[in-house]
Subunit: 230 residues, 2 copies
């Protein structure tokens, strides 16, 4: 049994939930508000960020990338051809490149600022930086979503899944970040049919269902959030 | 033979040089100015960032973390007890945690802004963001160096090397970032004797020598940069 310290709209935590789901692993969720900098949480992860995975008989595992490597090393080989970090070196490089692209670059440029401004700030105290969202930050992040969506569309037109023929961590990372901001209505799906068709396929996987059942009091989900055929 | 697209003062590129050196691998260096966004470089790494490693018979390998995983998968087992990403799961988690701490958090909060403001901006055109350094950015980054140095000191007092008994990627990452900003005189060594003693040990390794021979026209190195017994 695994325990995940997460926030329901943290895109990196969503990636880990998808990764555990695809591995068929059960999960207990503990909601963390990282901006509160809880002492017990900081002792699990001195960086103070979600997600943190607790597994039996290992120290706490902090961060989406490190958790992905851990899951691959403990459960990857048993996945056979469905391994999310495939065995061939070329595939490993490409999957890791795209996983970092979404978990680092997309998070920094788009999903991180959007979730912080539109969701986290509602719950933060004034000292923690709470308050009304910065429209400048939202505008810049929304513009960045468009070029990332075009990149996803380009990948989806040249390949079956983002990193090749089969679904990998690359798809889970991209879809996790998109799902968090799709809730907010921040993904202009009509701009890229190939990206939309790829997302529909990933979204219809059983591992995705728990994410779609996350709703936030006071912030209604966008029209496209739950609909599998949006 | 490996080829590394790097900048001599890019802290992440320095980490990769140390990692290759510790593995005993030869390296050809190609200096890249990532802010110029050279088309041929973007085709190697669409993210446009250094470092990028070119190895025989694989696609280009972008980013310090992905290169570290690649080197471990291709050369790690042959290192035996000196493996830089040790075999036990607990050690792998801790080494990856600290490697990410320095290559992501320290880079974002301290070494990245300092190198950009004090070095890269000298070479950038005005359109690329060149010009005089922002003293506000430098002040904030310098303050961050101090808390990171205290964290390194705390680790060095509790352990022989940062992640445990032996040298690992964690030490190489921390030392690589420190070396880039030590050139600029931005490390207050006198504030932490344990951190300083640990750095002296890492700095005296043969893999470190090529870094210390990097000098920048017009920017003199600090008093402590080359001195092994500073």
């Amino acid at each position: 049994m695994y325990t995940l310290f997460h926030h329901p709209f943290c895109p990196l935590s969503r990636f880990v939930r998808l990764a555990l789901g695809e591995h068929g692993l059960d999960l207990r969720l503990v909601e963390e508000r990282p901006w509160e900098r809880r002492t017990a949480f900081l002792s699990l992860n001195p960086a103070g960020t979600t997600p943190v995975l607790i597994a039996d008989a290992t120290p706490a595992i902090p961060g989406a990338g490190i958790i992905a490597e851990y899951l691959d090393e403990t459960h990857g080989a048993a996945m056979g051809d469905r391994r999310l970090l495939p065995s061939s070196m070329d595939d490993r490089i490409e999957v890791r490149r795209l996983m970092a692209w979404f978990n680092e670059k997309f998070f920094e440029e788009a999903s991180g600022p959007l979730v912080t401004e539109r969701i986290y700030k509602r719950f933060m105290s004034e000292e923690d930086g709470g308050g009304p969202p910065s429209m400048d930050v939202i505008r810049a992040a929304t513009a960045n979503v468009r070029y990332h969506l075009a990149y996803i569309g380009w990948l989806a037109r040249t390949r079956n899944y983002l990193a090749g023929d089969l679904i990998t961590y690359a798809d889970l990372a991209a879809a996790a970040h998109l799902s968090a901001i799709d809730y907010l209505g921040d993904v202009p799906w009509s701009e890229d049919e190939a990206a939309k068709a790829w997302y529909q396929r990933v979204k219809s996987r059983p591992s995705f269902r728990p994410l779609l059942s996350e709703w936030l009091a006071g912030v209604p989900a966008s029209r496209t959030y739950v609909d599998l055929d949006f």
